[in-house]
Symmetry: C2
Subunit: 413 residues, 2 copies
């Protein structure tokens, strides 16, 4: 997968085919580019353009009713905000039918930032709630194709990233992590070719914005990301009665193009269309118009950051919606719409009541930026420390265990 959470949240660039009738520049969201006028993505427009569905309050309530579990904070706060056929998954689950989860990551950097963890934290929650098997694709081949990394370096990054993913707490008895380079094998390759036989070059170019100046692998990669949506790509896990299992994909909405294509193809190959549950992008410290990038370590909080780094980054770089002076802040309050500390708390502060209170006090001027940042530093420090402890406990043997091609001993229940 490419950037799953806003790594490429760039400022808008004028593009020839992204204009409205009035000549206004529109937003561009695809797996390699996320940009919008002013930097702020209009998610409502995106849902309409992509043709996915809004994940509304009634569906969340139904989710809670059926699973008997409180909705995850990412759901309650509208961070996972869109879906495709999630209600079909819930219907099937209610009928006692099974499904599996599929997510992934393009291992382009050594260490992950918090935004990278978002889909994995949420996927772990889904795995716990539904007690279902999970496959995680590490697209080392994609990074080799797109970023010019060597095969060996891409493989190394995939393995390093696997450790961070495992540290999110996945259950080894229900989880298969694989990297494309090392898993490439007849079952998945056959599905790749079957999918390729249903999608023309024109369609690939149209969906993914490629040109013929791109290197050849790029025309083929979309099929590689599509294939894990079909259970027969994993015969060691899904054989016999599970060979047509439904699939639910948690991901950031920039991955939607891959799975739109996959859903088009699925019925022709006699599979269920994969269902999707899609998140917004995780903002850069500099705000939604900033770009989180590995080349600018101050644009994001990394899971390798020290507590000192976190404190420094939040205090120095987190874009504040608060007023310039204490006096003005007391008088006018903060602009919560653009305030990054509030946005980050929205992702990571579990306590709904406390979040509401912070928003009220900060918005009204009763709370100062420094106080909100101090609370954010506490929250992030706890998450990062917990992650680092879990990551340190992941050995090479643990990685081997998750990546072994094997049946999953405790798939369901």
């Amino acid at each position: 997968m490419a950037s799953t959470t806003g790594e490429t949240l760039a400022a808008a660039e004028p593009i020839a085919d992204g204009r409205t009738e009035e000549g206004e520049e529109e937003q561009v969201v695809n797996p390699w580019e996320v940009s919008a006028k002013g930097g702020k993505i209009d998610y409502d427009k995106l849902v309409d353009k992509f043709g996915c569905q809004r994940l509304d309050e009634s569906l969340i309530q139904r989710f809670e009713r059926i699973t008997g579990r409180r909705a995850h904070v990412f759901l309650r706060r509208g961070l996972f905000f869109a879906h495709r056929d999630l209600s079909d998954i819930l219907d099937a689950y209610e009928r006692g039918e099974k499904f599996y989860l599929y997510t992934g990551r393009g291992p382009s950097s050594e260490s992950l930032h918090l935004g990278h963890l978002v889909p994995f934290m949420f996927t772990k929650y889904l795995q716990d709630v539904f007690k279902v098997p999970l496959v995680i694709q590490l697209t080392d081949d994609e990074k080799c194709m797109w970023k010019g990394l060597s095969v060996e370096e891409s493989e190394r990054l995939a393995r390093e990233n696997a450790k961070d993913i495992i540290a999110c707490g996945f259950d080894v008895e229900r989880t298969f992590i694989f990297a494309d380079f090392s898993y490439m094998s007849p079952p998945i390759y056959k599905n790749i070719v079957r999918i390729a036989n249903c999608v023309t070059g024109n369609k690939i170019v149209g969906i993914f914005g490629l040109t013929l100046e791109d290197y050849g692998g790029k025309f083929f990669f979309p099929y590689i990301q599509a294939a894990p949506s079909f259970p027969s790509s994993f015969p060691h896990i899904f054989s016999g009665k599970y060979s047509k299992l439904r699939c639910l994909i948690p991901c950031a909405i920039d991955q939607d193009p891959y799975f739109r294509m996959t859903r088009d193809v699925a019925p022709r190959l006699s599979y269920h269309k994969p269902a999707l549950i899609e998140s917004k992008f995780f903002p850069a410290l500099q705000g939604e118009s900033g770009k989180m990038s590995a080349s600018d370590p101050n644009s994001a909080i990394y899971v390798t950051d020290s507590l000192k780094d976190i404190k420094n980054k939040v205090n120095r770089y987190a874009f504040s919606g608060g007023q310039d002076t204490i006096e003005k802040q007391r008088k006018y309050g903060a602009n919560l719409e653009v305030d990054v500390p509030v946005k980050y708390l929205n992702f990571f502060l579990d306590d709904d009541a406390e979040l509401l209170s912070i928003k009220e006090k900060y918005g009204s001027g009763a709370m100062l930026t420094g106080e909100v940042k101090a609370r954010l530093i506490e929250v992030l420090s706890e998450i990062v420390e917990r992650h680092q402890r879990a990551r340190a406990a992941v050995t090479e043997e643990t990685v081997d265990a998750f990546m072994a091609v094997r049946p999953l001993p405790r798939m369901f229940g």
Copy 2:
């Protein structure tokens, strides 16, 4: 591989970009289309256009001197007529360096015709002469991409074709036969991606005449046919000191585009450019402007044909350069340039003196078409009977033995 020997030798069709300055239609030769004005390929032009080299008399003599073996009839008679870097292979062989052979077939039909056997007969000769390992690629994935065959049917055809290939007499201790669907694995996939990273979409479209209306796999397949040119695609055979081994590819000249591309890429991946030895196309019974096709069983002699079939096909369908009446034939003699029986004898009659004598007598009118055809029937019957006996002896276990992923126990010498 696509048609290796003239399966698509079609009549010329006017195409937009295949004209000379004078507006004359040129010939088109690529892995999926072989056509020329009047049906007769101008091989001289082709060599110049492709930029390969002529396999001339002096190189054949050098071949005989170095190997201490008489040149194969296909070499002596100019049927393998072009090459790329064959002299480098001979130089290396003379220095005591090793190389390996690579050839292949696209398994598009159940049974092979004689033209399909040509590259394999020649490859077997090369294997015997040089005592080198050989890899044979069966591109079942290609046939699935191009012909709309199901994965399962393509795999079945590949296995059936493997039996006919084995029947040509390859040495199981030196030969690895693999089908793409069942061999797809990390080592070859990594080379495929490495190659893809060196070739743009534009280049693929240019070399192979694809359009964006083609299905996606077609843009990727050239890399799959290229990868076996690099020894690291077969770590079970070529490890350690053999990991950079030279490669020699015997094939029909319509496959040249794949390997032109491969040769461009090779130095960037620190491999030798694969050397090539390239054949002319095997003509249809109806002559060079006819098309050998599985849908017209009378266009070719199949290895499954009965002796009665052979007799009937040669007598009824083999295009004759002889005169309409015995009287005219005695007076004017036959036009050997267009005579299919003579062309076939040129491939399959071992005895140079007899062939010369037939040509002289037939060309002068001393011999009649019926007599030449009778001799051809004898020659073909012997080849087909021998093939059928050998094929009948190939069991499923034999196929498994050739296709097992294993070290080759007696690679050299």
